[in-house]
Amino acid sequence: MATITERPLTSRLRQDREPVLAEEYERAGGYQGLRAALRMAPNEVTDLVKRSHLCGRGGAGFPTGMKWSFVPMGKDAPHPKYLVANADEMEPGTFKDRALMEGDPHQLIEGMAIAAYAIEADIAFIFLRGEYQLSARRLTQALAEAYERHYLGRNILGSGYSLEMYLHISAGRYICGEETALLNALEGKRAHPRAKPPFPQVSGLFGKPTIVQNVETLCNLPHIVSKGAEWFLGLSPTGEGGTKLFGVSGKVKKPGLWELPLGAPLRELLEEHAGGMRDGTRFRGVLPGGASTDFLVDEHLDTPMDYAHVAKAGSRLGTGTMVVLDDQTCPVGMVWNLEHFFAQESCGWCTPCWSGLGWTEKILLAMEEGTAVQHDLEILKFQPKFMAPGNTFCAFAPGAMEPLQSALKYFGDDFQRHIKEKRCPWR
């Protein structure tokens, strides 16, 4: 396969992990995308993003330009309109947005300004998880620089367009990553998801039109505006467009984060970039896109890592950051850890989620402790149906079922062994 070396999102990141600040960012071509966007009409920016096929990098993969096209535009549109960067990176196994915010904070700010201009937003928020304190410090510094240099504030670069941008530090909870729950959190409420419709594009933050985008998605925008939709589409060998930040954690030789063409093969990621499995361990499976994605196994190693191919393999690209399961680690224990997280983080709004996840976690713990009986396995197998899409208020519980249902499929014998041997064989 041809090696594509272009890495628009990460090429500026410094080896010493210090942030790229305004002067260095500008020298490397920074804010040229915003300048170009401000010379276009807002709907031209949206059209360009549509043509680039950019899809959300936060997990759901919704086409970005299409999302923007639902925002009411023109002089009769309600104001203020809002743009929100979803920087609430909390999907277990995911560590990509942190790298972008800590290393190149202006890239996010520029991307946000471009998206805000396209939807004629007046106010932008960066919704940042509370634990990312280094990101908070660096974004605060970069925001001050961006205001000083007239990339934010009133009459940006003399264009007549004005945008205020604020950093909001969140107080925790995974559900805040769900965009309507995030909006409730920003309004100072408990972060329960909202019923849709109305969609946030029409009635979002404080009832006004609002777009919520993941950090990595927004970071692509300066490059798409500067270099064009055709260039962006050409980055990906499978035609889905762009690069993707991929990460690998677990017992591989070189865990890490890499920007690769969208559609890079799973095998290349695990064996070349992550260096293969540690000595004495064997690969058993991988969560390809964070905790709420289905396991992929040996037979899927040649899957190109893009939205369509990973879906065809029975999982989701998700966040693109993978967690590897090895043969020295108990798959039942791993799934228990995941479901413990989901049960704890359920917001409690709808019954299938808070109740179903509680039972799921209890049964998995019983298996680990050697007290589970055969009937428990039947109850466990029912949970993915009970919490299937459409049975719950939001996508949280169906996502939680993805690692469970695939583990039951690929590692069924291991579940059986826990029951028959009345213990965890890995302990």
Partner: protein
């Protein structure tokens, strides 16, 4: 209900100024309540009943409404903590890479279970969800700083640094 004088007494000038600066970003006053609780917590380590009442009064909310929000969010502390707070990641990548061993060592060194505070009030040990440092697992935060690639020796060094 607390009188404005009592609110002035319960929240410092600094705290009130910081809350008002954040409140200016939102069209409705109650929207700033989460920021407000985090601000008070930064100054005092936690959000006491008195602080909660004062914030509610300042923002025109009921105390019960605000407490419902406070208890939803795991980073808002409604109980006092020690001088240092350690938050150990218990999510999947850290679990695979040795969370159990690291947790047992931390609990033994500090002499408290997860969620506990040492008798001399030096440390509170809390579990936390994925810290986004999965490639450098196991990971923890102490007083807002991230520490990665934890093992017994590294933990001992980190603990020694905290008076």
């Amino acid at each position: 209900m607390l009188s404005p004088e009592v609110v002035t007494e319960l929240l410092s000038v600094e705290e009130r100024e910081e809350i008002e600066a954040e409140a200016a970003h939102y069209p409705v006053r109650r929207a700033v309540c989460i920021d407000a609780m985090l601000i008070v917590q930064r100054h005092r380590g936690w959000v006491s009943d008195e602080s909660l009442g004062a914030i509610a009064e300042l923002l025109g909310m009921s105390t019960a409404d605000l407490d419902g929000i406070a208890t939803f969010y795991n980073l808002i502390r409604r109980r006092p903590v020690g001088r240092h707070v350690a938050m150990l990641c218990d999510s999947v990548s850290c679990w695979i890479m040795g969370y159990n061993r690291v947790r047992d060592h931390l609990c033994k060194q500090l002499g408290v279970p997860m969620g506990g505070t040492t008798a001399d009030n030096r440390f509170t040990l809390l579990p936390i969800v994925c810290l986004g440092a999965c490639d450098r697992a196991p990971a923890m935060m102490i007083d807002g700083e991230l520490y990665t690639d934890l093992d017994e020796q590294r933990i001992n060094t980190l603990l020694e640094r905290c008076e």
